[in-house]
């Protein structure tokens, strides 16, 4: 039997990301930008309602935020930029056109380096431009074809659109790119970048080609992915679907498909595939933007330390592992919290211990508080964690006691050192006491003793646990192990 040679296909992916900017007012009018949890049609005015004769005026902060994003991503910031009208009829578009940027966006080029399972890839960007969000449509079913309701509060919210080049090669890479992009936007504090609230949305363009082929295959646009995981699953489903079609000798239809979260599959969105004719033309109501080099440099000076630089510094200055540094620089707040804890501990030599507690038990406590809880949401401060790290590292308390001390700190907000003193939790190094506890543990657990003697080395851990229990966790674990071995091996 012969095996047919399977063609090895490569998926080529590019993404478009829409990000609502965290300004106070809207893009072209002074209505409050926030629309989440607001009464419908309360943050509206003639401009965002698209009334005749209205005159839009550019929000300078939205422009600054977009340039900041461009600088963080290594984009070129041209001297000159302008807005254009993108014409299309849809009821959520109040004016019948969207003010966007066509051929002279605020940011050009740029790149973001991602890491997936240790492999690095540079994802080049096409551009970043600024536009306005549309109104929100709700659909109501009345048993007679239904009708729609329109909330204009979202109309005119500043929307930054970022387009990549087709540089991604898998669902995992795409998810990694989106994660890292969102992380940077949050570091910059220019967007909540919250997918659930719609302030970070993306579409994916993908095509398959035989590996080694230069020419791109037929493009499929993928929509409706509301999480990073959905992006990865949607792309992986498309790769399988399209590979099957190509292997059967079929051809791929150029179309838009929607990801269905419940099934993990994609389905064709039968839109009236008319080629869009947006008839872009320069927005006559908005004079162009001249971006001076001074402005660019002022903004560049406002850039915070970005995740990659922070991670490298954490590895270098605190001796953290790559993975520890990645975890602790996940958010700016977490990184700042960690550094404050190290400061509070009094010495950088406690940094690894502080990292250990942050990534283990502190994270566990925080996840009990909520999916995105940070330390500031709890009674524990960075100083608590720094204090704890020092107490464990210098041997004042055992790791086992430290867990209890941390639990108490989360409950009461008391400092670890105070908890240790008040409850008498200092590590016991008294050999006599440990010896006595070891003897008791051996007497009370003949089975573990027999296991140990028959060569089950792991049984000693159980016995150490019993010694710890006897001594309320305060026994020096090394001393306890030693005492047990002395009894067991010596008294055989």
């Amino acid at each position: 039997m012969t095996t047919a040679t399977r063609t090895d296909y490569e998926v080529v992916v590019g993404v478009e990301v829409h990000v609502q900017l965290k300004t106070r007012s809207k893009m072209f009018c002074a209505c409050p930008r926030d629309y989440f949890d607001t009464e419908p049609n309360t943050h509206v005015c003639p401009v965002c309602l698209g009334m005749p004769g209205m005159l839009p005026v550019i929000n300078e902060q939205a422009v600054a935020f977009t340039i900041l994003a461009g600088l963080a991503l290594g984009c070129e910031i041209p001297d000159y930029s302008k807005f254009d009208r993108k014409n299309y009829p849809y009821p959520d578009l109040m004016k019948g056109y969207q003010i966007s940027q066509y051929d002279q966006p605020l940011c050009v080029g740029g790149a973001l380096e991602i890491e997936v399972a240790g492999d690095h890839r540079t994802v080049n960007l096409e551009r970043i431009h600024l536009e306005e969000d549309t109104a929100r449509l709700l659909h109501r079913d009345d048993g007679a074809g239904g009708y729609s309701l329109l909330d204009v509060n979202r109309s005119g919210v500043p929307l930054m659109e970022l387009v990549t080049k087709p540089d991604l090669r898998s669902g995992a890479e795409t998810a990694a790119f989106l994660r890292k992009l969102r992380q940077i936007l949050r570091y910059l504090d220019i967007s909540d970048a919250d997918m659930e609230k719609g302030s970070f949305r993306f579409d994916v363009n993908l095509s398959l080609r035989p590996r080694g082929e230069e020419r791109l295959g037929t493009k499929v646009e993928l929509k409706n992915m509301n999480s990073f995981r959905a992006a990865q699953r949607g792309i992986e489903f498309e790769v399988e679907r399209q590979t099957a079609i190509l292997e059967a000798g079929g051809t791929i239809t150029q179309e838009t498909r929607g990801f269905v979260d419940a099934t993990g599959e994609t389905a064709s969105q039968r839109s009236k595939e008319e080629a869009h004719d947006y008839r872009y033309f320069p927005e006559p109501d908005l004079p162009p933007l001249q971006v001076s080099r001074e402005t660019v440099e002022e903004l560049r000076a406002r850039l915070p330390e970005l995740p990659d630089a922070k991670r490298e510094r954490f590895e270098r200055d605190y001796g953290l592992t790559h993975d520890e540094a990645i975890a602790l620089t996940e958010t700016r707040e977490r990184a700042d919290t960690f550094e404050a804890a190290v400061d509070a501990s009094g010495d950088r030599k406690y940094a690894r211990a502080a990292a250990h507690w942050f990534m283990g038990d502190v994270t566990r406590h925080l996840s009990d508080l909520g999916p995105e809880a940070e330390l500031s949401d709890s009674k524990v401060t960075p100083a608590h964690v720094g204090d704890l790290a020092r107490l464990v590292e210098d041997g004042t308390i055992t790791g086992s006691t430290a867990k209890d001390v941390l639990d108490a700190a989360f409950e009461t907000g008391e400092m670890p050192a105070a908890i240790v003193e008040a409850r008498g939790l200092r590590q016991v190094k008294d050999e006599g006491a440990i010896d006595e506890a070891a003897r008791k543990a051996i007497e009370a657990n003949p089975k573990a003793v027999a296991d140990y003697r028959s060569g089950k080395e792991a049984a000693i851990k159980f016995l150490v646990g019993q010694v710890m229990r006897e001594m309320r966790g305060r026994a020096d674990p090394a001393g306890a192990t030693e005492a047990l071995r002395r009894h067991l091996d010596g008294g055989a």
Binding site: N41, V44, V63, L150, P284, L289
Partner: protein
């Protein structure tokens, strides 16, 4: 510059305007005339004039990011044919 009937129908569709055949013919004449009129601009020598997207010498007309109160709710709906629970009610729109 004579437009074809198909071009007129295409433009009408973009503008969401329904036209019968007589109207297509009448508008074909009128729109062609307008285009001819603008053709005059093509006679001007602009080889020394840099391209521009606007006719005023303005740039960077922007505003500080300061929210101001929005329109009164009753004013918002003053011209709305139908409202429901604080929303504008429109015909069914399907994604």
């Amino acid at each position: 510059m004579a437009l074809t009937a198909d071009e007129v129908r295409y433009i009408a569709r973009l503008a969401r305007v329904a036209l019968d055949d007589d109207e297509v013919e009448r508008l074909r004449d009128q729109l062609s005339g307008i285009l001819d009129h603008f053709q005059i601009l093509n006679d001007i020598d602009t080889s020394d004039v840099p391209p521009t997207a606007q006719s005023f010498d303005l740039a960077n007309v922007d505003r500080p990011d300061e929210p101001r109160p929005s329109l009164d709710r009753e004013e918002v709906f003053a011209n709305a044919p139908r409202r429901e629970d604080g929303y504008f009610r429109v015909r069914a729109v399907l994604d």
